[in-house]
Symmetry: C2
Subunit: 162 residues, 2 copies
DNA sequence: TATTGTTATACTCTATAACTATA
DNA sequence: TATAGTTATAGAGTATAACAATA
């Protein structure tokens, strides 16, 4: 077991130091979802505090990065690349447009599609945010060697690819 | 890089097969948060579909497991163990009580505290849900050898412990 | 003064269904 | 018929602040 706590055995001590007592985590440490959730919470909290004041949410950051790297990408392509519903992209794009970081342009080949491109301000913002993001992640990735980190990413990828 | 796509180079092909075109993920695959989020989404979707109809949410499941393993645990201890705010535990406990799975009992030693205990129905529900949960996770953990899975859990733990 | 539980509010992320305009 | 984008609604998770009862 990853988290070696399995005591149980009818603990009945008076509640003298309740906050500090050793808890029995039962089978929770054997669940992948338990650990993923904990990591996600820590990442989320650090992200919020470090990027406080920035007009960006994590989903918008990913979208902006993909738009900059793939000029003309459509909303549906973006939603597939990020594995979210196309409905979710609408408000997300609204926010990026409101910040002046990206623009929708109706495609001339297929008038149903919006070709998305980043503005110069959007590219500048992404560069600034990219640095802040890696700085934020350093707090976590700094706990690993490069080799360990690569191993972790490959294991994680296997969980959602194929 | 974990996800070996880095093309760019002025793609300008007419939008013939837009949904299938190779995307440039830029630096996103180098971000831990990107992979954690993708895994979390996949786990979440499978959890929702497999446990559809069950009167349980993932947070309630974890709480119930801890209550069964630690009879008399208080809400504040529970919130610390699960790394969420104590305010969040109120509605969560309300739901468990409404299901008849757990009860709050005012502590006699410290009348501010609620000692939490599971009912017989709560213990039965947990046993049933535990099986469903491991069955759900099997879809993901089945991609690994036991050794790989242990390695993954240890790497994840390092991210939120200490 | 500090802690436990509570209430209230707000924001983020995701899901689903139905609609429009285009193909 | 199918697709791209939109609108609307809902549920789940988290954060924060303030309060009452109790220590």
């Amino acid at each position: 077991m990853a988290n070696g706590r399995k005591s149980s055995s009818g603990r009945k001590s008076a509640n003298v130091e309740p906050a500090a007592r050793e808890l029995d985590y039962s089978f929770l440490p054997e669940l992948l979802g338990f650990h993923i959730r904990r990591v996600q919470i820590e990442l989320w909290r650090d992200f919020v505090h470090r990027l406080d004041g920035e007009q960006i949410r994590s989903g918008e950051f990913s979208a902006l990065a993909l738009i900059v790297a793939n000029p003309g990408i459509s909303q549906i392509e973006l939603s597939r690349a990020l594995a979210v519903d196309k409905a979710h992209m609408v408000a997300l794009l609204d926010a990026l447009e409101k910040n002046g970081w990206a623009v929708r342009k109706r495609s001339v080949e297929d008038r149903r599609r919006h070709g998305l491109t980043a503005t110069a301000a959007g590219r500048r913002a992404l560069e600034r945010l990219r640095k802040a993001m890696f700085d934020h992640e350093k707090k976590f990735t700094g706990k690993f060697t490069a080799k360990e980190f690569q191993a972790l990413l490959l294991l994680l990828q296997r969980l959602y690819l194929g």
